[in-house]
């Protein structure tokens, strides 16, 4: 505890260096932009920018990448409220009330409550990261291979089986990701697997190619085929941008409640920011004094989800930094950025790279302030970004997407692989198979396998390590509960309904 404050102050020294301030500003601006723009998300953006790691210092690059990650959550609300097309999956809940508010001529307060709510939640969540991360590090040092494996199985289960419309489709996506993760040289033995003698495959399938293929190429194929001919109608910002006294009074409890929901969901490996946003929406709907407004533009229904998604992405940094476990597709790509620098996040990161870790955490405070400025007084500029014609927008996305993939090895093989993943992404989108589990499977699968075999190697082949270590046993029990409880609840619900 006593060490945290000096460490954080040191972090501020680093985050406030002109260069790092600049990277942070670029990051949050880009983040807001990609949040605003439909078709580009933070995962894709960070993936496309990974080649920059050649030139940038790790601190600058990661400050920028993190800025993109949480900046997108700020920007996402703009599109959602004005266009009714959520830029991010984490903004879907916001669309329910936000667009109604815009239609009623209350776009201003809706945008304001999401920007200020995002700021409040982001800042509180950053404070929690500051306080919690060093504690989690202490626990993380007790994590051996068996515990890591248990934690990863937990993460796999939540992102694929529990979230989403269909367990079987989520699992299918995960297993496709796991299979892709197997390609290349097995780290434990040097055995090459599923590489078919192609030297480019020996190193495995790069997460950039998969993510860019699924997100950018797949998305472009899908949007082109199914919605490029629909004219978009944007609601104008009419009336005051400012929130009335009653808007404030109704917003702030929602922000705080949403932070309390969003942060834990982000920081346990429970995948993504969607669940907490919907949870927050449900909570607000239940607690509101104005239930009649829900469905017609209730401000709590915007304030809550928007605060929740920001708290949750910030919370996701805890497992990412202390355990090296990504809990969303973007976090998975951030992990790849660390790996590009030869840095494996984990408990040692705080000791070996204090400048990086604390500079990054301090940059979150700074970034949130920047984002508030970007998203409130400057909202008009972002609205103009939305007027980029769709053909040019998607053409630009694909140019940058292919650049990201090509510059990895300067190889046409990567471009061909990219197209194959684009087709896969198209099919998955069309037939409602979630994409994120595949990306997480690709990144986390090889790590999980490694930990599994490591654990068994150390125990000389005795599988009891997984249930004799208390932490891993607890995690496995939790995983089992996660699968069983929703199933039982559904059963009971069905019986009651019958």
């Amino acid at each position: 505890m006593g060490e945290t404050l000096p460490a954080l102050l040191h972090g501020f020294e680093i985050a406030l260096l002109p260069m790092n301030l600049m990277w942070g500003a670029i990051g949050v601006t880009l983040g807001t932009a990609v949040g605003v723009l439909p078709g580009v998300g933070p995962a894709l953006t960070v993936a496309m920018l990974l080649p920059l790691t050649v030139k940038l210092s790790p601190v600058g690059a990661l400050i920028m990448f993190a800025g993109i990650y949480y900046g997108a959550m700020f920007g996402g609300s703009t599109t959602t409220i004005l266009l009714n097309t959520p830029g991010e999956s984490a903004s879907i809940a916001t669309a329910l009330e936000g667009n109604k508010m815009a239609k009623n001529g209350r776009a201003g307060p809706a945008l304001a409550t999401s920007a200020i709510g995002s700021f409040v939640a982001g800042t509180i969540a950053t404070l929690l990261v500051t306080l919690l991360a060093p504690l989690v590090v202490e626990i993380a040092l007790k994590f051996g291979p068996a515990e890591y494996f248990a934690l990863m199985v937990f993460a796999f289960t939540t992102v694929s089986a529990v979230l989403g419309a269909s367990t079987v489709r989520g699992l299918t996506s995960l297993f496709v990701g796991l299979l892709l993760g197997l390609v290349g040289i097995d780290g434990q033995t040097g055995q090459s697997r599923f590489a078919f003698g192609v030297p480019e495959l020996l190193d495995g399938i790069d997460v950039v190619v998969l993510a860019v293929g699924l997100f950018a190429v797949g998305e472009a194929l899908y949007v082109g085929s199914y919605s490029s001919r629909i004219p978009e109608v944007m609601d104008k910002i009419t009336g005051s941008l400012w929130m009335s006294k009653s808007d404030w009074k109704r917003s702030w409890p929602a922000w705080l409640r949403a932070t309390a929901i969003g942060f834990p969901f982000g920081s346990i490996p429970a995948g993504g920011a969607e669940i907490p946003t919907f949870l927050s929406y449900a909570v607000e709907k239940k607690l509101t004094k104005y239930p009649e407004e829900f469905g017609h533009g209730a401000i709590e229904g915007v304030a809550g989800p928007e605060a929740a998604n920001n708290a949750s992405v910030t919370g996701a940094l805890v497992p990412l930094l202390t355990l090296g476990i990504p809990t969303s597709a973007t976090a998975a790509i951030l992990l790849a950025a660390f790996q590009n620098y030869g840095i494996q996040p984990g408990p040692m990161l705080f000791q070996m790279q204090p400048d990086l870790v604390w500079g990054l955490i301090a940059s979150l405070y700074v970034g949130n302030v920047m984002l508030l400025i970007l998203n409130l007084p400057m909202i008009g500029i972002w609205v103009r970004v939305l007027t980029i014609p769709q053909p040019l927008l998607y053409a630009g996305i694909l140019v940058f997407a292919t650049l990201g993939a090509y510059s990895l090895h300067q190889s046409v093989v990567d471009l061909a692989t990219l197209y194959v993943f684009g087709l896969l992404g198209f099919a998955m989108r069309r037939w409602d198979i979630p994409v994120a589990p595949a990306v997480i499977g690709l990144i986390l699968g090889p790590l999980a396998e490694t930990q599994f075999r490591r654990a068994l190697s150390i125990s000389q082949g005795d599988p009891s390590v997984f249930y004799q270590h208390p932490i891993s046993a607890t995690l496995f029990a939790l995983t089992a509960l996660l699968i069983i409880v929703p199933w039982v609840v559904r059963r009971v619900g069905r019986e009651r309904a019958a």
């Binding site: 297993f175 599923f194 082109g224 053909p391 040019l392 140019v399 292919t402």
Partner: protein, 173 residues
């Protein structure tokens, strides 16, 4: 649901389910060729591929079961209109694909700029832009900027291709 849409859906579901099943079988077959020696861990490099293969086979069977017992569960509406979209527009799909293939074909010989501009113009065309030449021009501007950024700032070379003499003229190589 219209009859045509319903039959399209059931065909697609069957194809995808069988695809997953075949992928699982192929994985399992590939696993059989991997060595099993695992040293002290007693599980070797073939363990995880085996688990993945079996998993995919089971998931394929599960998807097929859903397909034949009323279709995949919780699917979004089959009609594009109900999803807020328009009907499948094959030309857009083809143009985007053509753009990507043109880029693959051109990037080594013609260079990054021409390949990227071709991609840009084709994708814009696919999304309904009628002005191919203008789009190509915009594509050239964007890709030249990227090219310069990579060469000058990142000192990473991208293929200059047919424009190489032009680039060396202005000091970009």
């Amino acid at each position: 649901m219209s009859l045509a849409a319903a039959s399209r859906r059931s065909i697609a579901e069957a194809v995808l389910s069988i695809g997953v099943l075949l992928l699982g079988i192929a994985t399992a077959a590939g696993t059989a060729m991997l060595p099993s020696q695992g040293g002290y861990a007693r599980v070797g490099p073939n363990f995880m591929p085996g688990v993945t293969g079996v998993g995919l086979i089971l998931l394929g069977v599960w998807l097929l079961y859903e397909r034949f017992s009323g279709g995949w569960r919780n699917m979004p509406p089959q009609e594009a209109e109900a999803r807020g979209e328009h009907a499948f527009h094959p030309a857009a799909f083809v143009w985007v694909s053509v753009g990507l293939f043109a880029q693959m074909a051109l990037i080594q010989s013609g260079g990054f700029v021409l390949a990227g501009a071709a991609l840009f113009a084709c994708v814009a065309r696919g999304f309904g832009s009628p002005r191919f030449a203008r789009d190509f021009g915009i594509g050239v501007i964007i890709t030249v900027a990227v090219f310069a950024f990579f060469v000058l700032v990142l000192t990473v070379n991208l293929p200059a291709g047919w424009l190489a003499p032009l680039f060396s003229l202005i000091g970009l190589e």
